[in-house]
């Protein structure tokens, strides 16, 4: 017998009002639910799967408790990865491949979900849902002219939810970002919803600061409402320091290990003032940045400006490290209201001791690694999609419009029943 998977799409409801029409959704309050979150990043490496225990503890958008029961990473087979790379390129992406890979990737996502359940010792029958981000093959945040002279953003993730539901026998929520994009948002970032749920404090204002290539933060006031949360890219994370180290070492080093080179130099305030005058730092959130602003060319300009000031290589590396710290501190001064009482740091930057010491100097609050809040940063994004699936099934709006730029909060995710 062949079962036909069914896909239901969101129904029109008031954003804060639960739907009365959804059948088969049990009251989720005060009971443990097992939900698998699946995430595949733009690096096309593979799929992260987190089996989460989720309990809805109270009303309100952030009244959930989450713990991670297992976390697995499944690498894409090389042939699939190569096809995905082609698909992601404007010149080589073909619609028939979208069609084929949508199914194939769905099967891989299903397999990753099953592995995470197995690792957690949870039977599929005991899992309430799977939340799958899918694999992004296009994300076009700039608006393109559409019908009726309107301009639209767009985004496309593949990894068919119906396939995941059919193969696992578990209700699957997928295709999250499109709902926020439909509400005029960027469809990103989505992590602030998890940040607010897991890490907001009733008393203290917190910032969660990720320092990857680019720095990004979520500002969480005490007991925040949806409208209180701000999330944006603070500017360079490790990207500028890495590029400068690579250029200055003629390729011998691609990063400043533990911040040792920066530690032997001295930041130059004049150089920093010059580069902190970049328009990006003054721009109000929501805002994003990337290699276009802070890549190798920016690094070369920084080096040349340092040379004009007769700085040593060590001083230039120290200055670029301080640029990251000071741009983060400046961003909090400008855009974090209230100013945080504590900052939790994640990403590769936590391994740069000099950067952390500069950050301590520049911030007027203590900093600690995100692990101190009990969350392994590697599993955070997969856990996010478990939470988004649970909130979707509860009809709780699961976006932060102040972060995505959407006109209103929406319930993201389409449901596929097995």
């Amino acid at each position: 017998m062949t079962r036909e998977p069914t896909t239901s799409t969101r129904e029109e409801t008031s954003p804060e009002e639960p739907s009365k029409h959804r059948a088969g959704v049990r009251d989720a309050t005060d009971r443990d639910r097992y939900v698998v979150g699946l995430m595949a990043g733009t690096s096309l490496d593979g799929i992260d799967a987190a089996c989460c225990r989720i309990r809805r503890e109270e009303g309100g958008p952030f009244g959930y408790d989450i713990s991670i029961e297992s976390f697995v990473t499944v690498t894409y087979p090389e042939s699939i990865r190569d096809r995905l790379i082609d698909l992601c390129e404007a010149d080589t992406g073909r619609i028939d491949e979208v069609c084929r890979l949508n199914r194939s990737i769905g099967a891989l996502f299903a397999n990753a979900a099953e592995r995470s359940l197995d690792r957690a010792g949870i039977q599929p029958d005991d899992a309430e849902a799977i939340g799958s981000h899918g694999q992004t093959i296009r994300h076009i945040p700039s608006k393109s002219l559409g019908p009726m002279d309107r301009r639209f953003r767009s985004t496309l993730q593949i990894g068919d939810g119906a396939t995941i539901a059919f193969e696992t026998g578990i209700r699957t929520v997928s295709d999250f970002r499109t709902a926020d994009v439909a509400a005029s948002g960027h469809g990103a970032p989505l992590a602030p919803f998890l940040d607010a749920t897991l890490f907001a404090d009733d008393e203290e204002a917190r910032v969660l600061q990720n320092i990857g290539g680019i720095g990004n933060c979520t500002v969480l006031p005490p007991a925040p409402d949806r409208d209180d949360i701000v999330a944006f890219d603070t500017g360079p994370g490790n990207m500028v320091v890495d590029a400068i180290v690579e250029i200055l070492s003629d390729g011998h080093r691609t990063y400043d290990e533990d911040g040792r080179q920066a530690a032997t130099g001295t930041p130059d305030d004049g150089l920093l003032s010059e580069f902190l005058a970049h328009d990006y730092f003054e721009e109000a959130p929501p805002k994003t940045s990337g290699r276009e602003q802070f890549g190798h060319e920016y690094a070369r300009q920084f080096i040349e400006a340092g040379r004009e000031r007769r700085l040593s290589n060590d001083d230039i590396v120290a200055s670029s490290t301080m640029l990251t710290a000071r741009s983060i501190a400046d961003a909090y001064e400008r855009f974090a209201d209230p100013y945080p009482s504590e900052t939790y740091v994640s990403g590769g930057g936590v391994y740069n001791d000099t950067l952390l010491s500069y950050l301590r100097e520049e911030l007027e609050c203590p900093i600690a690694p995100l692990d101190d809040l009990g969350m392994d940063p590697d599993s955070k994004e997969a856990a996010l999609f478990a939470l988004l699936a649970a909130t979707r099934l509860d009809d709780v709006p699961n976006t932060i419009p102040s972060a995505t730029g959407a006109s209103e909060p929406v319930v993201m995710g389409d449901v596929s029943d097995p």
Partner: protein, 238 residues
């Protein structure tokens, strides 16, 4: 570890059994070794329609008329004339594909202790496929762009016959000896590195390679699968 060629077919050891020691640093050629396309300069010359004029530059370089830096700048000037911008080079880089078996190899090295990276006579800007694996060093020639993305020069770092000197300088920076290096390459531009590195692997030999080079290396991998190299390194590092 004694490598018995009969036990690891299709890996060959032209000089007989080879004693392998755990390396302190692992270096790869890029073009033709970690990725399928055999030459970054050639790729851009063909893509941007400057192959014939590029050949003339190469003849002048081989004849000692121009330095390698001048050869690089000459190629860049030809591309700039054609209006090549950063976006064009990024598009070319996106088309560069990893060799079969490269992903698990690079993931393994990313999580292993010895520093690893590339020594390439090609172009650094075409190595973005390696970004997720965060190599510790990347010695290659670099294109330069101005603020608006227009191509405006190059930084020459690795000439076609200089990998021995480059490798020695790199080793001095890391405080190790070239004899502690495990080096993998595929072509005539790797011959100098083969001469100084401690353990050398000729991977899927380029057809243009001179006879006799095979006798200079410790190991030859005939099939185009970097999984063979992963297996060797796992044996040494795990």
């Amino acid at each position: 570890m004694i490598l018995d060629p009969a036990a690891v077919d299709p890996v060959r050891t032209p000089t007989g059994s080879v004693k392998l020691v755990p390396p302190e640093l692992i270096a790869f050629d890029f073009d033709g070794t970690l990725v399928d396309q055999r030459g970054g300069w050639l790729l851009l010359q063909e893509l941007f329609g400057t192959r014939e004029r590029g050949k003339t530059l190469s003849e002048r370089h081989r004849g000692g008329e121009i330095t390698f830096q001048e050869w690089c700048d000459g190629n860049v000037a030809l591309w700039a004339e054609r209006g090549v911008e950063r976006a064009n080079v990024e598009a070319a880089a996106a088309a560069v594909k990893l060799t079969q078996g490269a992903t698990p190899l690079l993931e393994f090295l990313h999580d292993s202790r010895p520093p690893y990276g590339t020594i390439s006579g090609g172009i650094r800007d075409l190595q973005t496929v390696l970004d997720p694996f965060e190599p510790d060093f990347r010695l290659a020639n670099e294109l330069r762009f101005d603020d608006d993305g227009t191509l405006d020069g190059s930084t020459a770092r690795v000439g076609p016959d200089h990998k021995d000197e480059v490798l020695k300088t790199l080793c001095a920076d890391y405080g190790i000896e070239p004899s502690d290096v495990f080096y993998v390459g595929d072509s005539h531009t790797d011959v100098e590195a083969f001469e100084v590195a401690g353990t050398t692997v000729l991977f899927d030999p380029d057809a243009r390679l001179d006879e006799g080079v095979e006798e200079e290396v410790d190991i030859v991998v005939d099939d185009r699968d970097l999984g063979r190299v992963t297996a060797l390194l796992r044996g040494l590092l795990d």
